[in-house]
């Protein structure tokens, strides 16, 4: 006989995976639009964002519904983690939209002549997102744990790039507007990496029932 509860849990999982693939696509496209100065692609990312927002609402609804049936143990963890991951995915979508907006604006202006480590940083952020979602699909706790330290490298690159841009703006004031766009875009990438780290922490909780958030603070106290 069918286990209706199990069906509900699986449906939740599937929805989450679908949302994840949309979010991942949005990040990929926004970075691509930024790098290749693609106006059309940037617009597309913006219009897709509402779909991602809709997913978050749907998933929260499904999760609440499942909670009324008092799930326990791994089911309970899945439901609460699903709500958290969907929130992180939604923010990732928002940040991708911000990058797309900056990409759109930058594509209308002549490029700034400065060599930034941006592609490298974008690549790291993208792979963090991909890896965190993979670890959720495969319930691979070790893989999820491995993602967490990578966030530091992304933060460091973000700092570096901001510093470079700041210096450039001071040296060539006519590039200020464009450099500001780049600063915002880079910041968004850094945030995307943060959210990917959050997702990885949730995956660890799902698999191990261990809450490893804010570990740096704990270690300090």
């Amino acid at each position: 006989m069918e286990n209706h509860f199990e069906t509900g849990i699986q449906a939740l999982r599937q929805r989450l995976l679908l949302m994840a693939s949309h979010a991942e696509t949005a990040v990929n496209r926004s970075v691509q639009a930024l790098m290749e100065r693609d106006y059309e692609l940037a617009l597309q990312v913006r219009s897709d964002d509402s779909a991602i927002d809709q997913f978050e609402i749907e998933i929260d609804e499904m999760a609440i519904n499942l909670l009324t049936r008092a799930p326990l143990a791994s089911n309970l963890r899945l439901v609460t983690v699903a709500m958290k991951i969907s929130q992180n995915l939604e923010r990732i979508g928002d940040e991708a939209t911000k990058i797309a907006k900056r990409a759109r604006d930058l594509s209308q202006e002549p490029p700034v002549k400065i060599h930034l480590e941006l592609p490298h940083m974008a690549g790291m952020a993208l792979s963090m997102v991909k890896d965190s979602l993979d670890s959720f699909v495969h319930r691979d706790s070790a893989a999820a744990r491995a993602i967490i330290p990578r966030d530091k490298a992304v933060d460091e690159l973000n700092r570096q790039i901001h510093q470079q841009l700041a210096q450039h703006m001071m040296a060539q004031p006519d590039t200020i507007a464009r450099c500001l766009h780049w600063i915002v875009a880079t910041k968004s990438l850094e945030r995307i990496a943060d959210h990917a780290k959050n997702i990885a922490e949730e995956v660890v909780y799902l698999c191990e029932a261990q809450d490893i958030r804010h570990a740096a603070m704990k270690a300090a106290t």
Partner: protein
């Protein structure tokens, strides 16, 4: 045989009253029970703490009620029952040679699945145990009866009809009367065998609230087939399957992240 220590409770969780490391009140050691040739309990070892609520869960026929009834020797009533291993309460082996079963049952009370008030008045029901153990003075009896009915959250509903028949009460009220009757003689431990399973949801909630109050004064062991109930009211949970203890831990652990696959499967409804 490895000493079983009460699992430590995470400091961030609410600390159950009276729990924690220290001498457990009930020690069940390698207990096996036989109905004739059939082994209903298989080498169960378990330590239960004082003034906490411990829940026994598991599918039908797993032995949880049988184990409960070992704790006040109600299994003695059944022909052909044989016990191996030991159960000690407060340091004394209750299956020892010189044990007075009457005294044991004064210290270990029981509430049953189907409420069973005597066909007497409400007052006489609660006073039954008191009279049994020698209390005669009317004012003393009155006082303890009132205290017990208050303790069972029933006083306000029956104070004006103490001498009317107990059988006139609703199902939920009758069960609370049985609880009042059991706690009147101030046992240390109260055993409850699915106390709310025959009641409607509102009556069930009242019984659950009552149990949470009672654990301030009594050690409670409850058998339940309702996992959410165990999750709501117990501090520790023991999961049984076909006569064996599969896992014993804090309730939070059992219901958020059980260690054994079998427990996980049962708790998430994949079997049983």
């Amino acid at each position: 045989m490895a000493e079983i220590i009460l699992p430590k409770i995470n400091a961030l969780q609410t600390r159950p009253a009276g729990a924690g490391p220290g001498e457990p009140l009930i020690k069940i050691n390698d207990l096996s029970l036989f109905y004739g040739a059939s082994k209903a309990l298989k080498n169960v070892s378990l330590h239960l703490g004082e003034k906490v609520v411990t829940a026994f869960i598991g599918p039908s026929g797993c032995g949880k009620s049988t184990l409960l009834r070992c704790l006040n020797r109600m299994n003695d009533l059944i022909d052909n029952v044989r016990i191996e291993g030991s159960v000690s309460i407060g340091g004394h082996d209750i299956y020892g040679d010189n044990v007075d079963v009457i005294e044991l049952r004064k210290r270990v009370g029981m509430v049953f699945q189907k409420s069973n008030p005597f066909p007497k008045s409400i007052y006489e029901n609660v006073a039954y145990g008191l009279r049994l153990h020698g209390m005669k003075d009317k004012s003393e009896l009155d006082g303890v009866v009132e205290q017990s009915l208050r303790g069972a959250a029933l006083w306000d509903e029956v104070k004006d009809r103490l001498h009317s028949s107990a059988l006139g009460l609703s199902g939920g009220q009758q069960q609370r009367l049985c609880i009042a009757r059991a706690i009147a003689i101030r046992p240390e431990i109260v055993l409850m065998d699915e106390p709310a399973s025959a009641l409607d949801p509102i009556a069930t909630t009242r019984i659950e609230e009552l149990i949470l109050e009672l654990k301030k004064d009594f050690t409670i062991v409850i058998v339940t087939h309702n996992m959410q109930q165990a999750a709501r009211i117990s501090d520790y949970t023991a999961f049984f399957y076909i006569g064996e203890l599969i896992e014993f831990d804090t309730t939070t652990r059992i219901f958020t992240n059980p260690a054994k696959r079998q427990t996980e499967d049962y708790v998430t409804g994949r079997f049983g």
